[in-house]
Subunit: 303 residues, 4 copies
Amino acid sequence: MHIPALLEAIHTEVSEAVPHGAPADYIPALAGVDTTKFGIAVADIDGTVTGVGDWETPFSLQSISKVFTLAMVLARDEESLWDRVGKEPSGNPFNSLVQLENEAGIPRNPFINAGAMVTTDHLASIVGDAAAELLTFLRAESGNLAVRVDTEVRDSEITQSDRNLALAHFMASYGNMRNPVVTVADQYVRQCAIMMSCRDVALSGLFLARHGMRADGSRLLTRSQAKRLNAIMLTCGTYDAAGEFAYRVGVPAKSGVGGGILAVIPGRCTICVWSPGLDTHGNSVRGVAALDRFTTLTGWSVF
Amino acid sequence: MHIPALLEAIHTEVSEAVPHGAPADYIPALAGVDTTKFGIAVADIDGTVTGVGDWETPFSLQSISKVFTLAMVLARDEESLWDRVGKEPSGNPFNSLVQLENEAGIPRNPFINAGAMVTTDHLASIVGDAAAELLTFLRAESGNLAVRVDTEVRDSEITQSDRNLALAHFMASYGNMRNPVVTVADQYVRQCAIMMSCRDVALSGLFLARHGMRADGSRLLTRSQAKRLNAIMLTCGTYDAAGEFAYRVGVPAKSGVGGGILAVIPGRCTICVWSPGLDTHGNSVRGVAALDRFTTLTGWSVF
Amino acid sequence: MHIPALLEAIHTEVSEAVPHGAPADYIPALAGVDTTKFGIAVADIDGTVTGVGDWETPFSLQSISKVFTLAMVLARDEESLWDRVGKEPSGNPFNSLVQLENEAGIPRNPFINAGAMVTTDHLASIVGDAAAELLTFLRAESGNLAVRVDTEVRDSEITQSDRNLALAHFMASYGNMRNPVVTVADQYVRQCAIMMSCRDVALSGLFLARHGMRADGSRLLTRSQAKRLNAIMLTCGTYDAAGEFAYRVGVPAKSGVGGGILAVIPGRCTICVWSPGLDTHGNSVRGVAALDRFTTLTGWSVF
Amino acid sequence: MHIPALLEAIHTEVSEAVPHGAPADYIPALAGVDTTKFGIAVADIDGTVTGVGDWETPFSLQSISKVFTLAMVLARDEESLWDRVGKEPSGNPFNSLVQLENEAGIPRNPFINAGAMVTTDHLASIVGDAAAELLTFLRAESGNLAVRVDTEVRDSEITQSDRNLALAHFMASYGNMRNPVVTVADQYVRQCAIMMSCRDVALSGLFLARHGMRADGSRLLTRSQAKRLNAIMLTCGTYDAAGEFAYRVGVPAKSGVGGGILAVIPGRCTICVWSPGLDTHGNSVRGVAALDRFTTLTGWSVF
């Protein structure tokens, strides 16, 4: 398999055949993103990265950050987290309060917004500033010290944070928030506003393809934890379209409303695609199409 | 890996460490099952079967039958089925009407009861008697002509069928039932009441591990369809505990309230475990524990 | 207050100012009703009836029948009914299954379809044929022996009965159905298909304005029971628009999708209006407008 | 009817027959209230007040305040309020988020917490400080200048305000909050923490029995508005037990978790009862029992 040629072919085919869609409009700073941007990067487990298109342009990480925050909690305090958040697919749009109310303030999984705030809160109780800890990790794994929080996006999200504040206060009313709501919301928004390129993200996620090993050869997660994190990505990683994504693409992945998707082929590689136009579920239209082509052409599904 | 010894070890360990639980009590004929029964069978993709414990004792297939019915529809008329049923995890207990009402009579996936009835209805429109077609298939794949419908279980379920009739009439009210409700309910109950042993089930499911190829070497499903069916099993196969199961065990599987679970290691083998005691989600307590041990000891997860 | 002149004025004003709307379209035999029909009748507690427009034309009673069925149960066996059905407004559209599932098969009140079927089932257990008993009562109170079941409407509803069958089987699955589903559904459909004019309905409901006394001076309900039935009409009588109706009109009332509404001014009179065009909640557009005018002009609200 | 003797008889009978129950435990400052306190006051439309038991002891107004806030909005700007809040019974517990999510941030009625916060927000936009305006009104109507906000209760509620903050932020995310969440929450908590006696409350609510006229003879509400406010109290005034209360008692009323209930007999009088022990719906156990006896003995139901 000659990956560079493959990526070129997929990039050309998807660019021609798939309309780019419209970006997230509820975050003002994201609404203005150039919708023709489209990049793909593949990172081999040996650390080699190959890319095509806008694969070195930073974009807003958004919910992809949840994978890394969760990994950092699993590495430090796995068991107690699972008393505060479930592992089941949500079956409802990603910011639903209904489920939270039916289930006494325990979010369905760590990738819906409520569950991600619990995870951030959990990490904050261990390390103080979850977003700062995340930045340190992402810079180390990507080898890119320029990875940073976009303050314009952060400020833009803060003005749109009523729903997340509602979720956080609601969980607090059930006793499922350890730090002040305002602290958690601040760290959560900052982690979502991190800017990284496809290259950076693919490299940073390699521990998931390497059964838990970091870039420097140290272990972040046990083999079992890495497997489990991949399982959560497969069942919960693409909002309420996780079933369709598993059916169509068949690999663990996590998407963000910035238009990025991080996918994992355990034992082989990671892939990060980015195109800002989203489908109705909040997943990148061209990103899903590119991953679909990639797994079809390589035959690299987990099934 | 010496499978027979492995199975012996798992059988002994789980028998000693894991309480057997209580069988399904809402189907009178199942409530009387001997809860100490416990069998495991592994079928290699070359057709070799190895077993331990009560692996040759027939048990009530129940929801495991849904995998085979779905496969038979996919083999005949894949696309039109997906207009009538979704592919998303349900996020709710397996017989919920709420979701059906919110989503205009389209069940969330083919493995919840409503979705399975739609699938049976779909197959019935093509072949006439879906349960008879299923029997023919299962006898051929297992090589066991004694595979049959247990009429006592069938009759027992018919007396408890109000909820399924409610689901079917409700879907009919949305125009999502092609055959008369009573016809579909009859075929559905008969397919659930099929009796098979772990050996039979493991052999019958081998097409899922063989990328779509049947026992006689003919193709039932395309490679892509087989992959997709495995994806649905992983995301939806163990009721509303699919996330937990993927997290813990990490392979495609389908459980039934008869206490059986069929699991698939694509490219390698199928495993069928049976123990009638169920957890609160309706999955076999010892069955899940045995599969957990099996994937841990072999390292054969899809992640 | 000169009622005949008042009714003429209201009939004219509403006919000119209020569009007649469209009839219920899910029951084929109702879909063809002449939408320009519009009648009003007022029955004084002394038994005098005054009418205007199409007040003597029979129309399909539909859900107005639920008031009479409930009254007949209250007269015979009040307490045990309330173990099977609640008294709270539904807050959801009139045929919702969600609430039924959340509340273990106990319908919210006797006027939503599920609750009305429980009430019919309850009456059937006492008298055998609930619809026949109802007919006898309505003929006696209205003095019109021609009150009858419209077999065309009945047959038309039977072909559209999947949703009601779903509700009934669902309640049966919770043990909240005493007679076979098919028996209850048949009696329920027949009671809904009764044909009566505004005159007939206003007279038949007079016991509600007369604190429980029937036309012949005998007592159907105790004073307390009559008060309570009026309370249920006020809080639950106009589907999920009961709050708006109470706010706007302010009297106990029960509507039906045939376009009729029976309203009660305790101690004074009953009013029955009929116009087949319905609003989005299933209440007669002109019927609500006419009652609004009537209570405004007379000042006869309960508040 | 000799009211003083009647009240004595009811007070004695209910004290003996009805257990006093437990007070609201989620507001620390209310949890310590003396559960044996029990007062009743009746205010005639001519302004005469009669009382029994602890009728002159101030208690925490809590949700009864919502009636007065709503009245003050109706008096100033009726129509635009109804674009922001509905008039339908909630059918769910009083602080549910589910309904709010299903209905795009529009609370079901002005008496559930979410709806009351919208009403407070609406009044704040007109008068600045809704709670201060309310105090001025209540002091004028009761003639008691000592009516005040209990700062201990207010502070106690603020520490328990996560759920209300969640509701307010959630509505803000739908654009249904005009003032900052923190401002509205502060005013809302202060209005709930007002201390008044049965005497004060009965007098302050007299405008509802006097078709809109205040104590000084000026008009607060039109006749139609007063009728409508009574209608909302009847359908929505006692949380999710409004149907049962209408059935059993049959008059407009509003309860609070401080243990008070204000009831209205239009054209006759108001009644305020207070006993801190609550039933599972949040209504005073002895308060409901006393009102039930009162309407039964006087025959003063609206039905």
